[in-house]
């Protein structure tokens, strides 16, 4: 038996999430699933892992499940300081629209890079009270003090991701949050 998880090199939640997708090492080959969960330092991490026993990593060839990807994505978002409201509903929406798992952390990272460090991101589930099929995730951005130019930046991010969203199931609306207080 081996218990190898939790290497010193794997310090960040994002890298853990990335490791969720690690598959089997078969004759020197590692297979990974879920591109979006792979952080920029993953290759370096894997390089380190390639010199370690693979017993603990030898479990998967890709991922056929969705739940662990959803959980890894939620953990990754929290580590990116994205607040999640109505967690159960967000989780359920991601389960039903798993294509979003490939985009959501990247989108939040893009937003964090494009806005001031003090910008807060909050992810919520929305369902139209009259039309149940009209449901999506809302990603609210709060900037303090309010800066109306953020709308232009949001538009440019939305444009940049429009093609990626066009061919997948599920939708995320990026919107400014002008409400005061929590």
């Amino acid at each position: 038996m081996s218990a190898i998880y939790g290497h010193a090199e794997i310090s960040a939640q994002q890298q853990w999430s990335a490791l969720e997708g690690i598959a089997t090492k078969s004759e020197g080959v590692l297979r990974l699933a879920s591109l979006q969960q792979i952080g920029s330092s993953l290759v370096e991490t894997l390089s380190a892992l390639l010199n370690t026993p693979f017993n603990a990593l030898a479990a998967r060839q890709g991922t056929a499940d969705i739940s662990s990807r959803v959980e890894a994505t939620l953990s990754q978002l929290v580590s990116q300081r994205v607040a999640i409201s109505s967690l159960a509903k967000v989780r359920n929406y991601l389960l039903q629209n798993s294509d979003l798992l490939d985009l959501l952390p990247t989108l939040c990272k893009t937003i964090a890079e494009r806005f001031d460090p003090g910008t807060k991101q909050r992810l919520e589930y929305y369902q139209d009270p009259q039309y149940e099929d009209d449901e999506y995730l809302s990603l609210y951005l709060r900037l303090d003090p309010v800066d109306l130019s953020m709308i232009e930046t949001i538009d440019s991010i939305t444009d940049a991701y429009s093609e990626a969203f066009a061919n997948i199931k599920g939708w995320i609306l990026i919107a400014p949050d002008f409400q005061r207080g929590d």
Binding site: V29, R31, L32, A59, G62
Partner: protein, 245 residues
């Protein structure tokens, strides 16, 4: 898990089959499968799965990104679905997990349907996986009260853990099979609640050691072992939580 809990922690159960590379495959197969199962799985979805393959070669590490198409066939409530990709079949069951006795016939039907269309030459991998999400309302909870599988910290280390990931691989059937156990912290809505994902993945570790005819028997045996591992990972303290209405 076959022991019946009022609040079972299973959020997803998946059974997957990866066919050997000498099994002939063509693009008409998903459609032929759908014709035979659409009474129970009427909805269709197409998904693209991205894989990175990293090879360790003499002159360094080589990366390759591949995309694979998978077709999903879903039941009316979308809680049960079949995934079909190239030489790949998976049957997923989302919460609320019914029972093994209810889930297994769907596995049987999907595999037997595929077998009737494709001449399966071998099985590189069979897997039965249970993802359990566990929430425990307690401040500073002692993991040992609820788990018999958890990260041990020596007495010279700080005992407070913000997050963790711990896993191991257990050999079964003379190393033919293996069961990966992984326990990680998970995001929860309430700040005074501990969240955990207990992920159990029992799989055929040695390719082509189970014949296609015996695959469903293997799955039955895998379930028994996974069930034993699950019960071995938890304490009565956690069972009590699962039994609460």
């Amino acid at each position: 898990m076959s022991r019946q809990y009022i609040n079972p922690p299973v959020v997803e159960a998946v059974c997957e089959f990866r066919l050997s590379s000498d099994t002939k495959w063509d693009l008409t197969i998903p459609g032929l499968v759908y014709e035979r199962i659409q009474d129970r799985f009427p909805h269709k979805e197409q998904h693209i799965v991205s894989d990175i393959e990293i090879n360790q070669e003499a002159n360094g590490i080589k990366q390759q990104v591949r995309t694979n198409e998978r077709i999903w066939f879903l039941t009316e409530d979308r809680k049960l679905f079949i995934q079909i990709g190239t030489r790949f079949l998976a049957i997923n069951c989302l919460a609320p997990y019914p029972t093994w006795q209810s889930f297994k016939p769907s596995i049987d039907r999907a595999y037997e349907t595929l077998s009737s269309i494709v001449s399966i030459q071998g099985l590189e991998r069979i897997g039965l996986r249970y993802v359990n999400r566990i929430e425990i309302a307690a401040l500073n909870l002692e993991l040992a009260t609820f788990f018999q599988f958890w990260p041990y910290l020596g007495e010279r280390l700080p005992q407070a853990m913000k997050a963790f990931i711990v896993g191991c691989l257990l050999p079964y059937s003379d190393d033919r099979d293996a069961c990966r156990i992984q326990l990680t912290t998970a995001v929860t809505e309430q700040p005074d609640t501990g969240g955990f994902v207990l992920d159990l993945d029992y799989f055929l570790a040695q390719p082509n050691t189970v014949s296609p005819e015996n695959a469903l028997d293997w799955v039955e045996g895998a379930h028994q072992n996974v069930e034993t591992v699950f019960e071995g990972c938890i304490t009565d303290g956690l069972r009590e939580i699962f039994e609460r209405a």
